[in-house]
Subunit: 80 residues, 2 copies
């Protein structure tokens, strides 16, 4: 079973990495870009057969380690 976790800065929190990428893309000649935001995608392979239990466990991982919930929000999706 695989869990896909997306961690993004919350709306309103400045994203300097995204801003820098936006400027870099524009200076390379790409136009029509409104905004760029950059987050992390974490793929965790789990040896568990209980989907609900796996989701709960991964959410616990996010709260403890994977996301800084003061400035970041996360979503967990169980695939396969």
């Amino acid at each position: 079973m695989k869990a896909v976790v997306n961690v993004f800065l919350k709306e309103g929190v400045l994203d300097p990495q995204g801003k820098a990428t936006h400027h870099a893309l524009e200076s390379l000649g790409f136009s029509g870009i409104d905004s760029v935001r950059i987050g992390k995608q974490i793929v965790i392979a789990l040896n568990s057969s209980d989907q609900a239990e796996a989701k709960r466990s991964v959410e616990q991982m996010c709260e403890t380690l994977l996301a800084n919930t003061v400035i970041e929000e996360y979503s967990v999706e169980i695939v396969e």
Copy 2:
């Protein structure tokens, strides 16, 4: 229109960030984890109405700037 780009290290390329996270999760008491891989998710807001054209443009951005195609692979998905 939004483009979601996922950039991951290719299979077989060592992922030290993922390894470190795996160890950290285990030392926090989480068990049953087979592997952890960490990539980037880049969300680009575009003011374009042509979906095919947008996808082509974002793929070009990946090749030029967003991904290091020697060691990374990417996927582009157009949403909304």
